[in-house]
Symmetry: C2
Subunit: 190 residues, 2 copies
């Protein structure tokens, strides 16, 4: 296990995929870039999550710590040899990739078809499952990270949160702490 401070790169897109990672503590983001710097975050990883798992020889995204992250590191070759002998392990590896795929597919729907407000609502519900600390949503990432995850600008994110607060859907306690009011009611998933 190794430690990455905030904004330190864990691995870069198209680097040789020699290791697989599992989060112990902290949060990691994975993203892709366009040549002019536009960024799309494909996922945030929380404690327990596995990332960097590739059947090909190169990573398909860049991974960076959002906040100080403790990460379990495993040699890819070692993991593959275990999988070659253990059917259950092989199946588990496949499942991790399939979970990532399922998440990506839902996110395609969000990016392709939801409005700014709907994106924020979906995001809050997702984070509510993962970053809940003593009944309060504790966001580890900046507005820019949220924006790059949701395909918006940081201003739009800020405004949407302000609007939801005004409507009484949530309460902001500083920019990083949020209390949701009626999770799953008006904040509809679909």
């Amino acid at each position: 296990t190794s430690i990455y401070r905030a904004n330190k790169e864990v691995f870069g897109e198209s680097e040789p995929a020699d290791f697989v990672f599992r989060i112990i503590r902290g949060v990691v983001r994975a993203y892709k870039l366009l040549s002019d710097g536009r960024r799309q975050i494909t996922a945030f990883y929380f404690p327990g999550d596995v990332f960097g798992l590739e059947p090909t020889d190169h990573y398909s995204v860049t991974a960076e710590a959002v906040v100080t992250a403790h990460v379990m590191v495993c040699k890819r070759r070692q993991m593959l040899s275990v999988a070659a002998q253990n059917v259950g392990a092989a199946r588990e590896i496949w499942s991790f990739t399939a979970q990532s795929l399922a998440h990506a597919e839902s996110h395609l729907l969000l990016l392709g078809r939801k409005t700014a407000l709907e994106r924020i609502e979906s995001f809050l519900l997702e984070m509510n499952e993962r970053a809940l600390v003593s009944g309060q949503l504790n966001l580890p990432m900046t507005r820019r990270d949220i924006a790059d995850y949701l395909g918006l600008t940081l201003e739009t994110v800020s405004r949407a949160l302000a609007q939801l607060e005004e409507e009484g859907e949530l309460q902001l306690d500083g920019p990083r702490k949020i209390m949701l009011r009626r999770s799953g009611d008006t904040l509809s998933l679909a």
Copy 2:
């Protein structure tokens, strides 16, 4: 192997995932819906492509034929039992899922960060690899399908194609046949 006529459903989202499919001829689309009917197509499948491969018990998307499609069908349980005994097969199954994931990640970047014109360009390059018939791009899907794949409206798709034609990037020969002029030049990937 079985045959599906245009617009016939192969399987529905959240149905039990009892079968795995491989395209022999024709084209299939996979998509997700919002409750109000907004649709996001996650992928088009062409001859040789595998779809409906899930480690969970239910499909995560709906699949429909775009045009008459000949499809090889395989019982999921049978495939799993082969994979349980054959390491190579298990690895191949994992690879299919990982390929879908890689495609989805690229598409997240497209939906989250590219302009309408860039989306169309990326789409044409993608189709140029897959639907090329005698040096000419042969689109099997409607403008609405393209729009729902790219997170746009069909009008925007139509206008973007018209603009690219005006700029001499391509030549339309009816709405479904396209000749690209300088693939990979101005039509930049990144």
